[in-house]
C-alpha cells in the first residue's frame, strides 16, 4: 500500500481495489458482485442511490458537498498538508417546481491525481476494499464518485476534473460515466502549462438539488467540520454569492492512521472468503500469521490446536462449512491480543480544544481522549469535548455535536447512543443544568464505526462504546464542575469584596460625622484583611 500513500484520497480507493481483485476477474470475486453480476457497479449504485444518501433533492446536494469536501480533506491530510478547500455552488437554472440545477465546484490543495488515473478515479464506480483497514473519512468510500454519477443522472452534463501533482503541467478532463459498462467516457482532455507549480484537484459538475432546504445542514456541516479540522481553511460561496469562511488557526495535524490487517475477532465469512481468494500462502499457519492483526506464529499455532485445524491445511481447500466454523472459532478463542490503535487517527486533545475554541468561542473548554478500546474486534477511540459559555447559546438543552472519523453526523441525533449516555448522566452532580450554555462534542474514531443503520447517521448502542463515552463525559464534566465552582467562588469573592468596599467607607464617613471628628479613619487595613481572607479561601 505504499503506492496508495502517494495518491490522493480519490486514487487510494481505486488502487486498493486493484490489489484485492487482481488475481481474479471481477466476476465471482465478491458476494455482492455475484448477486449483481448482470449489471455494472455503476448501474447497481444508479439503481440503489438511496443507500449512498442521495434520497431527495435537498439531501442529495448536502451529501454531494460533504463527499467532495471529505475527499479533498483526505487528499491533503494523507500527506500532512494543511488543507485549503474551496467550495462553490452556483445557480444554473430551474429543474422543476421545487428543484434547481446547481454547479458544484470543489477545489483543494491535496496531492493531486496523476493524469493517467484521472478518468477511472472520477468516472468509474468501484467497490471499496476491506483487505487492509485504517480509519477513513468517507462513509462509503465511493461517495465522491456517487455525487458525480448523481449529477450526471439528473443533468446529463459531463464533469470537469482539473488536477496536478505539482509538476509543470495541469490536466483537464471532461468526463461522463457509461453507466451500463461502468467506464469513463472522456469528452475532452487538455494539458495546460502549470507555471506556478500548482498542486491540487478541482472537481466541477452540475447536479439537481434544493439548496435552500439543504442550506442549514450544509452550513452546520462546514462549521462542525471546521471544529474538528482546525488546521484546514474552508471557504464556501453559496448560490446567492454569500461567502462563508472558516480559517485555520493551527498547522498542527493529527498523526495519520496506519493500515492494519483485520483482527480475528472482527472477521466475517465474506472477509475470510476474500482473503482465501487472494492469499499466496498454502497452509493455515502462514495464512493466519500473515493476514491477521496481532497474530504471530505462536498464537496461530495455539489457535489451530484450539480449533482442531491442521496447521498444514491449505486454506484454499476449506469448504464453505469449514470457513463458517473457522469464523466462529476465531471469535471464540480467548488468547488473541486486543487490536492496537495505530490504525486510528484521533484528533488529539490539543487539536480538539483548538477546534472547539475556534468555532464555538466558549468561555471554557475541556477535552478528554479515552484510551483505545475495542468492540467485536474493532478498535475505537472516543474523544469528548465540553464547551461552556462565551458564544455557546443556552437552548434549554445541551447542544451535542457528534462526529465519526472526523465527519459531522447531522441526522437522527435522538437515536444516537451519545444522546442516551448524555441524558442518562446525573449532571446535577457536576453542577451543570440543561439551561446552561453547554455544548458537548462526541467523536468516535474506528476502523468500523458501529453505525446503527445503512444511513450511517447515528451510532449504535454498543455497551463498550457506551462505557467509553460515559467515562469520557464524566471526565470533562468533572473539569467543567471544577471550572464552574471556581468561577462561582471568584464571583462570590468579588461580590463580597464589593460589598465591603461599598459599605465600609460609608460607615467610616457617617461615624466620623456622628462622633464630630475631623479625620475619617483609614479603612484600608480592614479592606486588605477582607481581601487576604478572600484569597485564602480561594486557595482551598
Amino acid at each position: 500500500m505504499e503506492k496508495a500513500g502517494k495518491l490522493s484520497g480519490w486514487e487510494a480507493q481505486r488502487d486498493k481495489r486493484s490489489e484485492v481483485s487482481a488475481p481474479e476477474r471481477p466476476k465471482g470475486g465478491m458476494d455482492m458482485a455475484q448477486t449483481f453480476e448482470e449489471i455494472s457497479a455503476a448501474d447497481f449504485f444508479y439503481r440503489n442511490r438511496d443507500i449512498a444518501g442521495f434520497t431527495n433533492p435537498s439531501r442529495a446536494i448536502f451529501v454531494a458537498v460533504r463527499e467532495l469536501v471529505e475527499n479533498s480533506l483526505d487528499a491533503a491530510e494523507s500527506h500532512r498538508l494543511p488543507p485549503d478547500v474551496y467550495v462553490r455552488l452556483s445557480y444554473e437554472g430551474e429543474a422543476s417546481a421545487e428543484t434547481q440545477i446547481y454547479k458544484l465546484r470543489v477545489e483543494d490543495n491535496g496531492i493531486g491525481v496523476p493524469p493517467r488515473h484521472i478518468p477511472s478515479a472520477f468516472g468509474q464506480i468501484l467497490f471499496g476494499s476491506k483487505y487492509k483497514l485504517k480509519q477513513q473519512r468517507g462513509t462509503f468510500g465511493l461517495g465522491g464518485k456517487m455525487a458525480i454519477l448523481y449529477g450526471q443522472i439528473t443533468t446529463h452534463q459531463p464533469a470537469t476534473i482539473i488536477s496536478s501533482t505539482g509538476i509543470s503541467k495541469t490536466y483537464m478532463y471532461k468526463l461522463m460515466i457509461d453507466i451500463q459498462r461502468n467506464r469513463p467516457v472522456i469528452l475532452d482532455r487538455k494539458v495546460l502549462i502549470n507555471k506556478e507549480m500548482w498542486r491540487g484537484t478541482v472537481v466541477e459538475f452540475a447536479l439537481e438539488g434544493d439548496y435552500f432546504r439543504a442550506m442549514p445542514k450544509i452550513l452546520d456541516y462546514l462549521k462542525q467540520t471546521a471544529m474538528v479540522n482546525p488546521y484546514a481553511n474552508l471557504t464556501f460561496v453559496d448560490p446567492k454569492g454569500r461567502l462563508y469562511k472558516f480559517t485555520r488557526v493551527t498547522k498542527d495535524m493529527p498523526v495519520p492512521p496506519k493500515e492494519t490487517k483485520p483482527h480475528p475477532y472482527g472477521v466475517d465469512v465474506e472477509l475470510l472468503q476474500r482473503l482465501i481468494q487472494i492469499t499466496p500462502y498454502r497452509n493455515m499457519l502462514d495464512f493466519l500469521k500473515n493476514h491477521f492483526h496481532r497474530v504471530g506464529a505462536i498464537t496461530a499455532q495455539k489457535f489451530l490446536e484450539f480449533s482442531d485445524i491442521s496447521p498444514s491445511k491449505n486454506p484454499r481447500k476449506l469448504t464453505h462449512e469449514e470457513i463458517v466454523r473457522l469464523m466462529h472459532m476465531l471469535k471464540r478463542f480467548k488468547e488473541f491480543l486486543p487490536p492496537d490503535a495505530s490504525c486510528l487517527s484521533p484528533l488529539g486533545e490539543d487539536l480538539l480544544k483548538t477546534g472547539i475554541s475556534k468555532e464555538l468561542k466558549p468561555e471554557f473548554v475541556a477535552v478528554h481522549q479515552r484510551k483505545p478500546a475495542t468492540y467485536a474486534g474493532h478498535p475505537f477511540i472516543i474523544e469528548i469535548g465540553i464547551a461552556y459559555g462565551g458564544e455557546v447559546p443556552s437552548r434549554g438543552a445541551f447542544i451535542v455535536y457528534r462526529f465519526a472519523n472526523r465527519i459531522p453526523l447531522l441526522y437522527d441525533e435522538a437515536n444516537d447512543v451519545s444522546l442516551r449516555v448524555i441524558s442518562a448522566m446525573n449532571w446535577r452532580r457536576y453542577h451543570a443544568t440543561p439551561e446552561m450554555p453547554i455544548a458537548i462534542l462526541v467523536h468516535i474514531c474506528s476502523t468500523k464505526v458501529p453505525y446503527k443503520t445503512v444511513g450511517k447517521e447515528f451510532i449504535a448502542d454498543r455497551p463498550e462504546v457506551r462505557r467509553e463515552m460515559a467515562n469520557g463525559l464524566r471526565d470533562v464534566a468533572r473539569q467543567l464542575q471544577l471550572f464552574l465552582s471556581r468561577r462561582e467562588h471568584v464571583d462570590r469573592e468579588r461580590k463580597r469584596l464589593g460589598v465591603f468596599s461599598k459599605y465600609l467607607p460609608k460607615i467610616a464617613q457617617f461615624s466620623t460625622q456622628l462622633a464630630c471628628k475631623e479625620k475619617i479613619p483609614d479603612i484600608e487595613k480592614l479592606l486588605a484583611s477582607v481581601r487576604k481572607y478572600g484569597t485564602e479561601e480561594a486557595q482551598d
Binding site: I507, F510, L514, A515, P521
Partner: protein, 363 residues
C-alpha cells in the same frame, strides 16, 4: 410645678438623645480607627426574647443580646444603614427638624444609601430605638399622624418658631392633631379631671358636639384605630403629669378590645421601649356584656374574629378577670357591635345614658 418637671424632662431627653447618638458614633469611629471591624450590641428582639413584665405591666426584652458586626457580610448593609439612621437622627435633633418614616426612606437616597422598601427602613429605625433604648419620636422621626385631642387643656409649644406660644385645645372644633409639635409641648393648665380615649373619629366628633368634654370634664382623645405610639405616650403623659384617669371606648369586638389593651399594656413590637403604656387606664366599653345588657344590634363574629379571640386568650396581658370574662362572653354570644350601634336608641343615648354609666362602672 408639674409643668416645670416636664420641661426638664423634655430638654434632658433631648440631651440624652444627642449624647446617645454621639456615643454610638464615637464607639464605631474608635473601632474603625483601631482597624477593628466595628460592631454594635443590642438586645435581641426575637419573639423568644420578648417577655411580659408584671411590674411594669408591659412587654420587655429579655437578657439575650445580639451583635451586629461589620465583619459579617450579611450584617454589613444593615449596619451601615443603622449608622446612617443615627447620623440622620442626629441632624434632625440638632437642627430641631422632624421627619416621618416615609421621609427616612427617601432621605437615605441622598446619601447613596438604599433601602429595599419602607419595611427595611422601618426595621432600621427600630434597631436604632433598640440600640439607644429611645423611641423614634425622641429623635424626631414621627409616623404619619391621624389621632387628635380636644378639651380644656392649655399647652405651650417648644418647636422652633412657636416657643412660648400657648394653645387651648378646645380652640378647634375638629380637635388638634397629635403631631410632633403637640407631643413635644408642655402642659400649662387644665380643668379636666379625666381623659376619654375614643377609637373612632365619628364618635369623637359626636362627643364634641354633645359637649362631653364639658358635661364630664374630660379631655377627649381620638385614637383613630390602633393608637400611634406618639398618642400612647401622650395619653401616658396626661395620666402621669396631670394625674388624669383614662377611660377607653372602643368597638365591641376583639379588635377594639385590643386597641384598649395596647394603650394600657403596650405592644410586643415596642418591647424595647418604655413609657408608651398607661397601666392604670381603663377599658370602659363596648364590652361583650354591654352587647347583652344593652341589647345592641350586632353582627356575627367571623372566623378571623374567633381566631383572634383564641390568640388573646393566651396573651399574658389578658389575665385579669374582667378581660377573661369579656373574651368568654364574646366566644359565647359570637356577636360583635360597633360604638355606633347605640344610635338605635337615638343619637344622644350613648352620651346621656351609656357613657355616664360606664364611667361610673369603671372608675
Amino acid at each position: 410645678m408639674e409643668r416645670k418637671k416636664h420641661r426638664i424632662s423634655v430638654s434632658e431627653r433631648k440631651k440624652e438623645v444627642l449624647a446617645g447618638l454621639e456615643t454610638l458614633g464615637s464607639k464605631i469611629y474608635d473601632q474603625l480607627d483601631k482597624a477593628i471591624f466595628p460592631s454594635i450590641d443590642m438586645p435581641s428582639r426575637s419573639t423568644d426574647n420578648i417577655m411580659y413584665d408584671e411590674k411594669l405591666r408591659q412587654f420587655i426584652l429579655g437578657g439575650r443580646r445580639v451583635r451586629r458586626s461589620a465583619r459579617n457580610i450579611s450584617h454589613l448593609k444593615p449596619f451601615t444603614q443603622l449608622v446612617w439612621a443615627a447620623l440622620f437622627s442626629n441632624e434632625l435633633s440638632s437642627q430641631r427638624k422632624t421627619s416621618t418614616l416615609r421621609d427616612v426612606y427617601y432621605s437615605a437616597q441622598a446619601y447613596e444609601m438604599t433601602f429595599k422598601d419602607q419595611q427595611e427602613s422601618n426595621n432600621i429605625i427600630t434597631d436604632l430605638e433598640t440600640v439607644l433604648g429611645l423611641s423614634r419620636e425622641d429623635f424626631n422621626i414621627f409616623p404619619e399622624e391621624r389621632s387628635a385631642v380636644f378639651g380644656d387643656l392649655t399647652i405651650e409649644y417648644t418647636v422652633p418658631g412657636y416657643e412660648g406660644k400657648t394653645l387651648d385645645l378646645t380652640s378647634h372644633p375638629d380637635g388638634v392633631l397629635i403631631g410632633p409639635a403637640l407631643t413635644s409641648s408642655e402642659f400649662v393648665k387644665t380643668s379636666a379631671d379625666k381623659v376619654i380615649a375614643i377609637e373612632k373619629g365619628g364618635l369623637f366628633t359626636r362627643f364634641i358636639e354633645e359637649n362631653v368634654h364639658k358635661k364630664h370634664n374630660a379631655v377627649l382623645v381620638c385614637t383613630a384605630g390602633q393608637a400611634p405610639r406618639a398618642t400612647r405616650h401622650f395619653i401616658r403623659r396626661l395620666n402621669e403629669e396631670l394625674n388624669l384617669p383614662v377611660f377607653i371606648f372602643t368597638d365591641g369586638d376583639p379588635w377594639g378590645m385590643h386597641i384598649a389593651m395596647v394603650i394600657i399594656s403596650g405592644s410586643a413590637n415596642a418591647a424595647h421601649l418604655r413609657e408608651l403604656n398607661t397601666p392604670d387606664a381603663k377599658w370602659s366599653g363596648v364590652w361583650a356584656t354591654d352587647i347583652v345588657d344593652y341589647k345592641l344590634p350586632t353582627d356575627p363574629l367571623d372566623d378571623v374574629d374567633m381566631k383572634r379571640l383564641y390568640e388573646l386568650q393566651k396573651d399574658p396581658r389578658y389575665k385579669d378577670p374582667l378581660w377573661r370574662r369579656e373574651i368568654k362572653t364574646f366566644m359565647k354570644i359570637k356577636r360583635k357591635a360597633e360604638q355606633e350601634a347605640f344610635s338605635r336608641y337615638g343619637l344622644t343615648y350613648i352620651v346621656d345614658e351609656y357613657l355616664p354609666n360606664k364611667l361610673e362602672e369603671t372608675k
